[in-house]
């Protein structure tokens, strides 16, 4: 099986489809919800409000330092649930596979999804695969949908953000964006760029005990930190003021961005959260977050103000204040 490639017949619904599911997916993903192989999964849910989120993953390259499209497809949806305040429980997945994808790659991705799900404590309970003709997709597209349950007392929404609240980020920004760019374009740096791709259930767990003192959480994926801060400012109607020299950025990301004319604040992250918390608890929450491996670099960025409503200001190291806007157009590297 491992030496072959995915063929149109693997999507026929016949014997070959069955073989693909049995050998690639069922074996690696076995759990009591999936194993009966029904048309859908029958789930038990603990009490509480249910959160649901979906995301599709179309990343090139499929494998990159720090992760792969399989890992990211689990982390992405798990993190969206965590950002809702939920404990992620179940995931579904649907894959659109381009004819000709090496089966070894598919198997590697299935194993990566299984391992990531296991670490995140979620079960892959139902799935679907479709095969399309060569040229109709870029090797593999993966969708995952997840549900989780929100414990009592947790309510993360931008409308709960108040003046004086503190803004936290759980670690250095821009790593994923740079890792993908470097891999895609064959750029090599003295220190390799590694994606921060990770499931952030540990962060969710730590924050639960702070209940209503955590106001809102969001993962700064596409568009990066600057975009998420702008979204939060607009949705809360508050101003966000961050200090440039408090924003954690690794030397390799900073150096590469300087060289290429890119801004790390707009580069994607796949293992970070922006968290808005009550000022009284901020220091305690940061210290607690730092005990979670994925949030070891948690840092205070700034605070929420009433003005300028709906905008983000950045205080430069030199003491000037400028507007940190949304990304305009494509982020293209410069010439010299």
């Amino acid at each position: 099986m491992k030496t072959g490639r995915v063929l149109m017949a693997h999507g026929s619904g016949g014997l070959m489809s069955q073989e693909l599911i049995e050998q690639v997916f069922k074996r690696t993903w076995n759990n009591r919800f999936l194993d009966p192989m029904l048309d859908g999964a029958l789930l038990d849910l603990p009490p509480g409000r249910v959160a649901m989120s979906t995301d599709s993953f179309v990343i090139t390259p499929l494998f990159f330092p720090g992760g792969d499209i399989g890992k990211i497809s689990i982390c992405g949806t798990v993190n969206d649930l965590v950002a809702c305040g939920a404990r992620p429980l179940y995931l579904s997945t649907a894959m659109i596979i381009e004819e000709g994808l090496p089966l070894a790659d598919l198997e590697r991705l299935a194993q990566s999804m299984a391992a990531t799900a296991r670490e995140a404590g979620v079960s892959l309970v139902t799935g679907d695969t479709k095969v399309v003709e060569k040229g109709s997709a870029d090797r593999i597209f993966i969708n995952t949908t997840g549900i989780g349950v929100i414990p009592d007392g947790i309510d993360y929404r931008p409308s709960r953000i108040q003046t004086g609240d503190q803004i936290i980020v759980t670690g250095p920004v821009g790593d994923h964006g740079l890792a993908i760019l470097a891999q895609r374009e064959g750029l090599r740096f003295a220190t390799p760029a590694v994606s921060d791709c990770a499931a952030l259930v540990g962060i969710g767990k730590v924050l639960e005990k702070y209940g209503a003192d955590v106001k809102c959480m969001r993962d700064p994926t596409r568009g990066g930190l600057a975009t998420v801060l702008n979204e939060l400012a607009q949705q809360s109607g508050k101003g966000m003021v961050v200090e440039e020299n408090l924003i954690p950025i690794s030397p390799v990301v900073q150096g590469a961005c300087d060289m290429l004319g890119l801004d790390p604040l707009y580069m994607a992250n796949e293992g970070k959260m922006v968290i808005i918390v009550d000022p009284e608890r901020a220091a305690e929450i940061i210290a607690d977050l730092q005990t979670v491996p994925e949030a070891a670099g948690a840092a205070l960025l700034g605070e929420v103000r009433s003005e300028p409503a709906g905008m983000v200001l950045i205080q430069t190291e030199l003491g000037a204040q400028r507007i940190l806007g949304m990304l305009e157009g494509e982020h293209l590297p410069r010439i010299c």
Binding site: L332, P333, R334, I335
Partner: protein, 365 residues
């Protein structure tokens, strides 16, 4: 860290102590970006003005040249390889990005050597590298051309729109409409050309030149060194960016440029045709000159209506003075190249808006 911060504040105070009207030009687009990003522009007193110069290679490329590139992509069955910045630069009727969406094969490269790889992989296709940039970029493209010759890659050529910085600076100093008291000179270009070209400029026009690095501290120090010279009525070329720039520049890089390119007249946006300010391929490399290979004709300069990029590039106005800035011309819908490039003054002013200018922004949007 706090020592550095202290020194920055000291420099800022020393600069603020100057009460005369001083107008300095930051030649390089990377400086323009750094000045806007760090907030230096906003923190300087109103009597010290910073003007942007012609130091963004994309921005100074003339409209006619951009149109010629687009026409080449439309008419020839080629793969065009370019640096990312050029993709969105508007030509008179189209842009490379638009051409790509309509089926033209235009690829973004990070190094000119990528173009060689593409040429090797596509032996039945003509691969043209769009050579744009100043003395910093040109040596790498020179090496690429030499390597293509060594490998005998007959399907590779370069459309050279390379330019030289000193001739443009000379024009800036000699233009009576452009009132510049001193130049913040580009760090990376100078790492190649060294201090000599500025010695000549400073002596001839009696104006100080300081080769400056790109960190906030570098720029403050560069400004301070210029003001100190003005205060002492001196006019010499100095190097602030000593950790990178040597007096003699980079002789090896200069030799590569000399070996492969020859000075030719070039048209600059905003400055017009400047003799010996462009670089064309020498006769020995004529086979790799895309202009000759594809019989590229000179295109007419059709100015973009209302666009003041030319005035911005010569420091005659600042971007917000342009009627289109932030209204009809934004990074999403750029009218002129200065709003497109990562090095462009308009993009710098637009992206890094001081908080104090929020009102203006609100009115425009």
């Amino acid at each position: 860290m706090s020592k550095l911060k202290n020194y920055q504040q000291q420099l800022l105070q020393a600069i603020k102590a100057e009460t005369r009207q001083v107008s300095l030009m930051e030649v390089c687009g990377t400086h323009t970006m750094a000045i806007a990003k760090s907030g230096i522009r906003e923190l300087l007193p109103p009597n010290i003005k910073l003007r942007s110069g012609p130091g963004c290679p994309v921005c100074v490329t003339s409209q006619g040249d951009i149109d010629a590139v687009i026409e080449m992509v439309q008419n020839q069955d080629i793969i065009l390889v370019t640096f990312g910045d050029m993709m969105r630069v508007p030509g008179t009727r189209s842009s490379l990005q638009e051409e790509r969406s309509q089926g033209a094969d235009v690829r973004i490269a990070y190094s000119p050597l990528d173009a060689l790889r593409i040429a090797r992989e596509n032996p039945s296709k003509e691969v043209v590298f769009l050579g744009i940039g100043f003395e910093t970029t040109t040596p790498a493209i020179g090496i690429t051309i030499e390597q293509a010759r060594e490998e005998g890659l007959a399907n590779f050529s370069v459309f050279s729109l390379h330019k030289l910085v000193p001739p443009a600076l000379e024009l800036i100093f000699s233009d009576s409409e452009i009132m510049v008291d001193g130049l913040i000179c580009p760090g990376h270009v100078s790492a190649v050309i060294g201090v000599k070209p500025y010695d000549i400029l400073a002596a001839q026009y009696g104006k100080p030149c300081v080769i400056t690095g790109f960190e906030t501290l570098d720029i403050l120090e560069g400004i301070y060194m210029l003001i100190r010279q003005i205060l002492r009525s001196e006019a010499k070329a100095e190097i602030q960016y000593r950790r990178v720039v040597k007096e003699e520049g980079n002789p090896i890089a200069l030799q590569i440029i000399e070996r492969i390119f020859k000075p030719i007249p070039a048209r600059w946006r905003g400055l017009g045709v400047i003799p010996a300010s462009g670089l064309g391929l020498r006769e020995a490399y004529a086979g790799m000159d895309a202009r000759l290979k594809f019989k590229i004709r000179e295109m007419e300069e059709i100015p973009i209506k209302g666009c003041a990029c030319g005035e911005v590039l010569t420091g005659k106005i600042t971007p917000p003075d342009c009627a289109l800035f932030g209204r009809a011309c934004t990074p999403l819908q750029p009218v002129g190249p200065c709003m497109v490039s990562q090095e462009g003054s308009c993009a710098a002013y637009y992206r890094y808006t001081p908080a104090s200018e929020r009102k203006r922004l609100d009115e425009n949007r």
